[in-house]
C-alpha cells in the first residue's frame, strides 16, 4: 500500500484491521495442523481453536469493511491485500514448527488474549466491545487446553521437555511486540477505544511464570527482540503464507461459494 493511502485510513480502521490480521494469520497457521495433528482429538481441537480465530477475524474484517472509505469487502481485505499491507504482529505468522512450538506459541498468546480481551470488551466502541466479549469466552477455553499441554510436555519426557523449551526459546523475542502500542492505538487510547497493552505485562508475566515453573521449564532470558509487524514489515514466511491462503482469490477473482 502506498503511504498516501495508508495515512488516509483512519486510526480506527487501522486498529480494527490489525486486530483482524492478527486473528486471521494465526488462524491460517493453526489450520496447517488440520489432518496432520498428532492424533484425531488433537486435530479436532486445533481446528476448533482455528475456527474461533477465523470467526474473530471475520467479525473484525466486517467492521473494517464498513469503516473503509475504499469500500473493500471483508473478503477483499483478507484475500487481496499484499504482505506490506498486513499489520499482524509477527508472533502470529511464525511457521508452526513442531507440535511443542505450536503449543508454546498458543499458550503465550492465550494468556495474553485472556487479559487483553477482558480489557477490550470494555471498549467505548460497541462493535469492538461486542467482538471482544464474544472472543473472550472462547479464549478462556483455549487457555485451559494450552496450559494443560505446557504442563504435560514440560513435565513429560526428556524429549517433550527439550522440544517445548526450544520452542519457548525460539519465540521469546517475538513476545515484546505484543505489549507495544501501535500509532493507531496511541491515537485511540484517549477515547477508550483500545487497550493499554503495556499495562497487561505484569498479569501476563505472573501467569506465564507460574505455569512454566510448574511445568519445570525455564523462562527464556533472551537479549533479542523483533518488531515491525504493525508497520507491515514481516518475516520471510509471511509471503508464502499469503500465497497459500490467497491463491484461490488471486487465481479466480471474486470467486464465492
Amino acid at each position: 500500500m502506498n503511504e498516501a493511502i495508508k495515512t488516509e485510513q483512519s486510526a480506527l480502521l487501522n486498529f480494527v484491521l490489525a486486530e483482524a490480521d492478527d486473528a486471521l494469520i494465526l488462524g491460517q497457521r493453526l489450520i496447517e495442523w488440520c489432518y496432520s495433528a498428532p492424533y484425531l482429538e488433537e486435530d479436532l481441537a486445533i481446528s476448533n481453536v482455528c475456527l474461533d480465530y477465523l470467526g474473530r477475524a471475520n467479525n473484525f474484517y466486517e467492521y473494517a469493511s464498513e469503516l473503509d472509505t475504499r469500500k473493500r469487502s471483508a473478503d477483499q481485505l483478507a484475500m487481496l491485500r499484499d504482505s506490506r499491507e498486513f499489520s499482524n504482529l509477527l508472533i502470529h505468522e511464525l511457521p508452526i514448527g513442531d507440535f511443542a512450538f505450536t503449543m508454546a506459541r498458543q499458550f503465550v498468546l492465550d494468556v495474553f488474549y485472556v487479559e487483553y480481551l477482558a480489557v477490550l470488551m470494555d471498549s467505548t466502541d460497541d462493535r469492538i466491545a461486542g467482538i471482544a466479549a464474544k472472543s473472550a469466552k472462547e479464549c478462556d477455553y483455549h487457555l485451559r487446553r494450552s496450559r494443560e499441554w505446557i504442563l504435560r510436555l514440560g513435565d513429560g519426557t526428556e524429549e517433550s521437555h527439550t522440544r517445548l523449551q526450544n520452542g519457548l526459546n525460539e519465540l521469546w523475542g517475538y513476545i515484546p511486540e505484543l505489549f507495544m502500542q501501535s500509532e493507531a492505538e496511541k491515537q485511540l487510547m484517549a477515547q477508550g477505544v483500545c487497550a493499554d497493552r503495556a499495562a497487561l505485562q505484569p498479569a501476563w508475566d505472573a501467569c506465564v511464570n507460574e505455569v512454566l515453573e510448574q511445568a519445570t521449564l525455564t523462562r527464556p532470558d533472551v537479549s533479542w527482540k523483533v518488531s515491525g509487524g504493525r508497520e507491515g514489515i514481516h518475516t520471510e514466511t509471511h509471503g508464502y503464507l499469503l500465497a497459500d491462503m490467497q491463491f484461490l482469490q488471486r487465481a479466480y477473482p471474486g470467486q464465492q461459494w
Binding site: 471475520n58 467479525n59 485451559r144
Partner: protein, 173 residues
Amino acid sequence: MTVIAAIHPEQLQREQRRQRSSCPEIWALLDQVKDPEIPVLSIWDLGVLQDVVVDDAGQITVIITPTYSGCPAMKQIAQDVENALLEAGHERVTVQSQLSPAWTTDWMTEEGREQLRQYGIAPPGVRRGDKKIQCPQCKSDKVRLVSEFGSTACKALYQCTDCAEPFDYFKCI
C-alpha cells in the same frame, strides 16, 4: 435434592421478548428451524434466536446470535430461517446476526437440554452451580474427559467409565 438454578437474566429477557411479541406465530414458525449439526435442537431452544420484529410495512427482521465466533452453521441457519418463513408465505424477511450480548449455554431451554440428552449429547451444566456431567446413555456420572474439543466448536469429547460409551458433551460457556 434437586437444585433449581435461577434463570439467567438475559434468558429471562429473551423469553419475555417472545411472550410479549406482537407476532407469536412467527416465533412458532421458527421453532421448526433446527441447528444443522444437531437436528433435534431448535434455534430457540439453543438460544440462538434472539428476537423477531415485524414493522408496520410487514417487513420481518429475525435476529440471531452465533454460538461461537467462527460457527460455520450460522449461514445455514440464516438461510433456513428465510426458507421457513418464505414457505409460510412471508417474503420480506431480513436475518440479522448480533454478537452482543455474547451467547452462553445458560440461554439453552430446559426442553433443549432434554432433547440433547435423548439425542446422546450430554447437556451443558449451568455455569454457576450444577457442573455434573452425566453419561447420556446410562446416566452414570463416572465420566472422563477425552478431549476439550469435539466434533464441532460447541462440544467436548467424554467417555463413560461405567458403560464405556464415548459421548459428546455440550460445552458450558
